[in-house]
Amino acid sequence: MEDNIKRYTVVIYTENQIGILTQVANIFTRHSLNIWTLDASASAVEGIHTITIVTDTSLGTIRQVVRQLEKKVDVMRVFHYSDKDIIHRELALYKVPTGKIIASGNIEELLQSHNAKIIELNNDFTVISKVGTTDQTQKLYESLNEFGVMQFQRSGQITVSRERQEPLQEYLMERENNKL
């Protein structure tokens, strides 16, 4: 049944208006949904923003959330995806003590096996970056924590769908035709 709780990624295309994030977040709040990750950035289309939100809920609730989001005047289109419908990544940054990782002798091997790389290095600390899923960034965190991770941050998840084209393009073309 629809009561099955699953992970959903909601991709929201909006006009670039002040307060739009509040409006979007309000709808998640009304349904008592926890936002696991959130990303807001400019889309490929000038003036249109994309908000990507990951949450756990039922199909019934996510459909309702999508409709209520689309009802907002400044929201254009909203799509919801299961993990299998999308390719998604997050970025993680790790700050570790330089002395300790050099002393370990196997840092290069470790980073290679995690497909991570050093983006800044000084006498005091080293910053490592990794792109991956939450599971993958978490695994690297656990490995690096043997040296004592001084600071760790991960970004919100970003997503592309497995469909061929950006779904917004169709919408915009249709709306422009409507205007005429």
């Binding site: 909006t14 006009e15 002040i18 307060g19 509040t22 409006q23 309000n26 009304r30 459909r63 309702q64 409709r67 209520q68 689309e70 009802k71 005047v73 400044d74 929201v75 254009m76 915009l172 709306r175 422009e176 409507n178 205007k179």
Partner: protein, 575 residues
């Protein structure tokens, strides 16, 4: 800036009033204050085409605008100051959102440079109204005024209507701008209504033709769409019985042969019972509010469901549907009437008779035609209907007065029951009636209020006095918060907590405002008092001492299914 340029330019405040004129606004309900003075300063220059109604509390302004909008079908306009002025309209914004009422609220705001500094009378009205408005926008530059107002009116009135809030900073009010007005008819991110595919309509029509026992339940969407005639034609061609939600009342004349009354908690027995007996439920412009459905897990489970609604977010929200028609009610009904076959469903229609008979005997007659005992609330409503011949606009407050007015008022014309449905806002009645009367000065407007609700916005009697608004105010006085008392009696073991009211002398209050009033305490005085009230063109207050512990019946208790109906505190329908 040279002189010529300056002469071609106007202030943001002036641009606002010019924009309102472009939208055909003839009335503003408002209250001045520090951060909206620049706008108020321009109002006298527009007084030949724009009436400003000075309310006594900002909540009164928005309820009056709602009453005005519901009667006229065009947006009501509210103008208030920042901070407390703006927060005082919030209840009405939420109410207008719940009841799909087009309202444009303009709030003053501190200068843009002071935003976020906790300046005097600064409140984050954009943040506060975001979840309860259809759209809001902060105007921070005079040159944005025309654009924002055009957009506001387009959004408020199209699709599923609703409240829009424009927060107008002081510097934008006094700043200079060129003024060009262009009405808004297109917003790329906003699709007010969808085209329905022919195939969906064909399937719906086939489902209706195949149905032996269809039932139409319709709501406010029919009135908003102006689809009253389309509904009647559809029902007549299909010979389909129909019942209304609280907000759909008056879309069909009360004596329309296929009209079966109101559905829901205090609705009529027949349509509630038949909801769980029909084989097809056709919902038109309604949203399956829980006061309509009762226990959802046993609501119309045997029936196929067609849901016609302009708001896609309402379809499938509460009740899973077989066919979704995401469309304006009028367009959908026209298309369906064209497609369905003429039918006679005599046996099905006859089956409603038994329920009707029982309700008439057990509930309606004792409530509206008692011969002894205290005056009943329903009896007063019945008397008003008789005296006005069903032609009045009936406004209600919230509670027992509202249910009685909805159950026992008779209507000949649409847009004639104005009530706070979704939010259930006590205090709505009096100011909404003022707005309704201003919108329809030639019609009788009668508000039914309880002794509780009237005192929530009683200050608006000042508007009745100042504007000489000829509203008829009926206070059904039982010295209780009646609806809550009824629930305490029925569901909380009769423990009356905070529901007893010690009331003022309403006639003295009326006298203080210069409003004629009467008090009726016995049955014999009722007709004469009601007749005198409607014979007078001026405002009148009629205080009726009604049965103290009267209950609204029938009742589907909260959490019960629509076919579990109480006829009295001790008797269930069918037992």
């Amino acid at each position: 800036m040279d002189k010529d340029t300056k002469d071609n330019q106007v202030t943001g405040a002036e641009a606002l009033l010019l924009s309102l004129a472009e939208e055909g606004v003839d009335t503003i309900f408002g209250y001045p204050g520090g951060q909206v003075m620049a706008v108020y300063d321009r109002i006298p220059d527009h007084s030949d085409s724009l009436r400003h109604v000075l309310v006594r509390h900002e909540q009164g302004a928005i309820h009056a605008a709602q009453g005005y909008a519901r009667v006229k079908g065009t947006p009501g306009v509210v103008l208030v100051t920042s901070g407390p002025g703006a927060t005082n309209v919030i209840t009405g914004v939420a109410d207008a959102m719940a009841d799909s009422t087009p309202v444009v609220v303009i709030t003053g705001q501190v200068p843009a440079s002071s935003l976020g500094t906790d300046a005097f009378q600064e409140a984050d009205i954009i943040g506060l109204t975001s979840p309860i408005s259809k759209w809001n926008y902060q105007i921070r530059r005079a040159e944005d005024v025309a654009w924002a107002v055009a957009r506001a009116f387009h959004i408020a009135a199209t699709g599923r209507p609703g409240p829009v809030v424009l927060d107008f900073t002081k510097d934008a009010q006094v700043g200079l701008t060129d003024f060009h007005y262009e009405k808004c008819s297109f917003i790329r991110s906003y699709i007010p209504e969808n085209e329905v595919r022919e195939e969906v309509l064909d399937r719906a029509a086939a489902m209706i033709d195949a149905s032996e026992k269809p039932l139409v339940v319709f709501g406010h969407g029919v009135i908003i769409s102006g689809a009253e005639r389309e509904l009647a034609e559809f029902l007549e061609k299909g010979d389909i019985p129909a019942a209304s939600t609280l907000l759909g009342i008056s879309a069909l004349p009360s004596d329309f042969s296929l009209y079966e009354g109101m559905i829901g908690m205090h609705g009529n027995i027949a349509p509630n019972i038949k909801t769980n007996e029909c084989d097809l439920l056709i919902a038109v412009g309604m949203r399956f509010d829980n006061r309509v459905t009762g226990k959802i897990s046993s609501y119309a489970k045997q029936a196929k469901i067609i849901h016609i609604d302009i708001d896609a977010a309402e379809i499938g929200k509460i009740v899973p549907v077989d066919i979704a028609v995401n469309s304006d009610a009028g367009k959908a009904l026209r298309a369906l009437t064209d497609r369905i076959s003429p039918a006679k469903r005599t046996a099905w229609l006859d089956s409603f008779r038994e329920c009707r008979k029982i309700e008439q005997e057990k509930v309606i007659d004792p409530e509206t035609r008692p011969v002894s005992g205290a005056i009943k609330m329903g009896e007063v409503v019945e008397m008003v209907s008789q005296v006005t011949d069903g032609k009045a606009i009936v406004v209600t407050d919230v509670g027992q007065n509202q249910m009685m007015a909805a159950r026992y008022s008779r209507f000949r014309n649409s847009r004639s029951l104005i009530t706070s449905g979704g939010l259930g806002t006590m205090g709505f009645g009096l100011p909404a009636a003022i707005g309704a009367k201003i919108a329809a000065p030639d019609r009788a407007v009668c508000v039914f209020s309880g002794d509780g609700g009237i005192q929530m916005t009683i200050e608006e009697l000042g508007v009745v006095m100042q504007e000489r608004t000829g509203v008829k105010i009926v206070i059904l006085n039982n010295n209780w918060l009646g609806n809550v008392r009824q629930w305490q009696e029925m569901f909380f073991g009769g423990r009356y907590s905070a529901t007893r009211m010690v009331n003022p002398d309403y006639m003295m209050i009326a006298a203080a405002y210069g409003i004629a009033s009467e008090t009726v305490e016995c049955r014999e005085e009722l007709r004469g008092a009601v007749e005198r009230m409607f014979a007078d063109d001026n405002a009148r207050i009629l205080v009726v001492h009604v049965e103290e512990e009267g209950n609204v019946m029938p009742m589907i208790p909260p959490g019960e299914s629509v076919d579990r109906i109480m006829l009295s505190e001790t008797q269930w329908y069918g037992e």
